[in-house]
Symmetry: C2
Subunit: 442 residues, 2 copies
């Protein structure tokens, strides 16, 4: 039994500062739960000014990450610089020095997870990555331990707080996308360069990690269909509400026809669903299990202290293993490496869903019937129709024509896309048709 567990931190940004604050402020509480102090051995950051902001004593500072990795006193290396390189190099180097690793780096784990977890398995070191998905929500632990006896049917996640804040603003305040984005930036909920949040890239990283854990398969990032929120308009939010739905950016994974669906896109969900009530910067992940049925985990998905708390829970978990002289008590990716098998990713055109379609068409007799005809030829059956009168809300860019909204029954994506190519080619259709997929959460 060690008298203290020493943590070395690489990267003292927002999350690193949160970890430092929690380890300092909750020293006694943590010792009461862990039985041994968690101490910070060394912190590396290339930006010296950050040390002053957080109030780090001189003897704990270095600008060289390798000093952290090579320090024989340090038990656990905490990588918080994010991004691919040099983070990947630091991970592999730390593993080869037989350091346990904790990280919040979703991009790295989504892109190079297979390589990193193989190395960690070979060296028999622990990996903690609770902070990589859902910030303060202990969703990694739920999948690896809480639902260890559970066959997962589906996961639906609101895992990007920026997008959810923007959609909430659009829905509650009637703002359009760019106004809501500006407001999010003003409040610090969106980066100056918000691309990865807005275009679905960040939720795709998180989905890759969740799907790997749930299904015991590698999930190649490039096979995740990804669509962001930048084309969601106030008109569609209004129609969704009239139809009894909310629009949320969902990360979705489920098994269908023996293949794995993995996709991120704006989704209409019935407004009575708990997931539809998740507003602002909050995240929530619904897991549907064959035995447990529907469950949902809700909390802050980002921020210094919530994410810092998730990191600290990983440090404590690994410290408990160190004190018992064990490592990798549960497999890194929830399944034993030798039992993981590649499940084919369902190509997007093969998925089945209900669809919301908004057409902007010429206002003359016969147009509705033409569109319905094309849909019918593509085996798409219509569940309901709203036709706006001539004074209905039109896109501001246009003043001619009328809006026609249809909800379909379950249909295949390739049939929908095929029908839309034909419909959008008609002279009576004034702009590309808007499509939003519709899901029920159970």
């Amino acid at each position: 039994m060690k008298k203290a567990i020493s943590v070395g931190i690489i990267g003292l940004g927002t999350v690193g500062a949160g970890v430092f604050r929690i380890l300092t402020k909750e020293k006694e509480l943590i010792a009461h739960r862990l039985g041994v102090p968690l101490e910070i051995g060394l912190i590396a950051d290339t930006n010296i000014s950050r040390f002053k902001d957080v109030g780090i004593p001189q003897h704990l500072m270095t600008t060289d990450a390798k000093e952290v990795i090579q320090n024989p006193q340090i038990d656990i290396v905490l990588e918080l610089i994010g991004g691919i390189e040099p983070a990947r190099t630091f991970h592999l180097m730390a593993i080869n020095h037989r350091k346990h690793l904790v990280t919040a780096n979703k991009a790295l784990l989504a892109e190079y997870g297979e390589e990193i977890f193989q190395a960690a398995h070979a060296q028999h070191v622990d990996m903690g990555f609770e902070a990589s998905v859902g910030g303060g929500i202990p969703i990694i632990r739920v999948l690896k331990e809480g639902f260890s006896g559970e066959r997962i049917s589906a996961i639906f996640g609101i895992v990007n707080g920026t997008s959810n804040y923007i959609l909430t603003q659009m829905s509650e305040e009637g703002r359009d996308f760019s106004e809501a984005l500006k407001e999010a930036q003003r409040l610090g909920f969106a980066e100056a360069n918000p691309q990865l949040d807005i275009n679905g890239g960040d939720p795709a990283h998180k989905l890759a990690i969740l799907a790997m854990l749930a299904y015991g398969t590698p999930v190649p990032l490039e096979k995740i269909y990804t669509e962001g929120i930048d084309r969601v308009t106030p008109i569609d939010i209004t129609f969704a509400e009239r139809l009894g739905y909310k629009i949320k950016l969902l990360a979705i994974t489920k098994l269908s026809e023996g293949r794995l669906e993995a996709r991120v896109h704006p989704t209409m969900i019935p407004k009575e669903e708990i997931l539809a009530q998740v507003n602002g910067v909050f995240n929530a992940i619904s897991i549907i299990g064959e035995s447990v049925g529907e469950s949902l985990f809700y909390g802050r998905g980002a921020g210094s202290m919530p994410t810092g708390s998730a990191v600290v829970s990983d440090l404590i978990d690994i410290a408990r293993n160190i004190q018992q002289g064990v490592a990798v008590r549960a497999p890194h990716l929830a399944y034993l490496p030798e039992t993981r098998t590649a499940i084919e990713i369902q190509p997007m055109e093969e998925i089945q869903s209900s669809y919301y379609l908004r057409f902007h068409v010429e206002d003359r007799p016969g147009v509705l019937s033409e569109i319905a005809g094309v849909l019918g030829q593509h085996h798409i059956s219509i569940a309901s129709v709203i036709q706006e009168g001539r004074r209905g809300a039109l896109p501001s860019s246009s003043e001619k024509g009328v809006l026609l909204v249809m909800m379909t029954h379950q249909a295949r994506e390739k049939d929908i896309q095929g029908a839309l190519v034909i419909i959008n080619g008609r002279d009576s259709v004034f702009e590309p048709t808007t499509l939003i997929r519709v899901e029920k959460i159970h």
Copy 2:
């Protein structure tokens, strides 16, 4: 490393049958995650007919629980008979035989937890009790592991599905309490004898367990203030909705003035809160942490398969320890036994809350001012008032007078109770005033 982990089950009721089904159906999945088969060694039940219902092979059956406990092949004893005796005796006997224990028995852990966990600590055996609170929601694991670095500010739980189903029926269908209870019984959501669900006893058991884990203190069950839902009326549900609230039976614990609040009662919460959206038989537990802020865990709180799944996760957890040759990796009750300290329970009269008060009074000038005067003398400040006109909805038992509803600002319970004794004694007040406490969830 063992070639299989053997589980002995005592009590083959609803949950036991779920565990048997999951272990049978998901044998391969569990082996892929655990690395070793989880096998059922022996099952004890005094009611032989149950074995046939579930399809248990002859060689696994016994009517004598001691055969399970004393069987040297069995690694983990699963107690699912519930209640205090003989469950308590079986627990202590199994621990003394150095068996690890898994249970769903909230009543036993709430009443005799200190004795049982001390014995388990002394014998260094693991205890799994995920199924004791919140059915399929992995809330025990969240408190012991997910939030191991988190200082808990408060917990608000909907932890009794029967009560929540009844309140939801009353709210959505306008049923009164006894009609809703009958409907719950018809659907199998309430027992023939529903007392422990209806009177708050069951949620008090669960609250004791949650508070022990969150705060590292013993929680004497008799010190938990407990009020059930049997006095909630459709009138109060209607007023709550007009005021922007939902009424839920909440189990609440928080630190205030260095003491621990632990109480179960119908509570008005703002209808925008996620917790207010939890309907039907679902459970949800909100945990407010100093670092993570608000989080919420939602799912099925009862039933054969959800609760069975929680039990299986405990079996897997302990099996992982057995395979590594360790036990009690995390302290049984989240804190090391020697660091647990008794925190005094805040007496109910000392708590502070906002209050909803519904008076049934004589319809004459001056009554409102008299009541407001008494409240003022007791330092209770009024936030809002609704006075129903003479045709307002009156309790069916009475046709005279008017209803007067007041929402107070933060006040002390003893001041409220003191004021109500005086007010209820007035001739102008026709029936005992209804009081519902009001909480914000963050």
